[in-house]
Amino acid sequence: MNRWNLFTRGLVKENAVLVLMIGLCPALAVSGTVRDAFGMGLAATFVLLFSNVIISIMRKKIPNEVRIPVFILIISTFVTIIDYVMQAFQPDLYRALGVFVPLIVVNCMILGRAEAFASKNSIINSILDGLGVGLGFTLALTVMGAVREILGNGTFLGMAIFGEGFKKSPVIFMILPPGAFLVIGVLKALINKYVKKETQ
């Protein structure tokens, strides 16, 4: 397969959150603001990229019977690294993301790529695949975060974009949990309506 296609497949065509509907828990939980969503996306991309690389390097050494526990151990190593790095350098973001940073380890998107791609393909291809899927996840989270922050708080990355009137009474429930369900429901419906038809 063409390498560019490999990268864009995870980014758009098989976007983890909006098309395949996996990795939903962090996508809904931390997309309240653009900053949280982007930070979560990058953290997951980091773990996905490096676990893909290591698994791809070791793919001929890992015995088939114990491959899943080995994958989980490799993934949890990188999750622990990003957990501590964030705690040290981005304490505010770390507090906002809370339990969802260590929970990257059970994000089925990452184990899914390890099992379906990295354990069967070369290092370069695994890097491209990891970057594509990870950035696709970041993109989906950031779009949701942008919609929710703009409507729910009247800001984008903390900058006010509407007038005073909106600031006094924003659509407050958009940044609360119900907003997450509504935003992803509407986004998925729009994708079904406009995107699916073109590919069919």
Binding site: L28, S76, P102, V106, P177, G185
Partner: protein
Amino acid sequence: MKNSALIFLSAFLVNNIVLMRFLGLCPFFGVSTAVETATGMGMAVIFVMTLASWITWIVYHGVLLPFNLVFLRTAVFILTIASLVQLVEMFLKKYYRTLYNAMGIYLPLITTNCAILGITFLNIDNKFNFMNATVFAIATGIGFMVVMITFAAIRERLDLAPINPSLKGYPISFIAAGLMALAFLGFSGLFGLS
């Protein structure tokens, strides 16, 4: 005792695991197609969540803290839970056949479920003692089961309703879950809990 009651209400209603904390969404959307399967899944989650809370609490306070190995938390917890579920499954299959038939097939599904692992992390982060961790796990599991069964009942009706084709399936389920979450938002502030 009063403290335990508050933890129970908080975990069950105010901070409902699915609708407010967004943990365990995969089984919530994946297995909630009929009330029966939702009940089986809910029972399995209560069971495993309590066992996992016990064992990870003991491992954390008995091994990781004294030996200064807290940084291994993520890896140790997930491997402990995975092996625990395997053991439980084999044990039930051999000795408690009826229980196995009721929830056996859901056990492997929840091994790497973020709800289970999330609760064990929250037990540690909230500095619960053993008793409170148990209450927290059971209440969370019951909260999961109640929401799951309610949602399954809603989805059984959604299947028959005339819905715009682009909203069919996932989108309308998300929107229905959003409305349920909006209703659960009404519980916030109950007894001063948030």
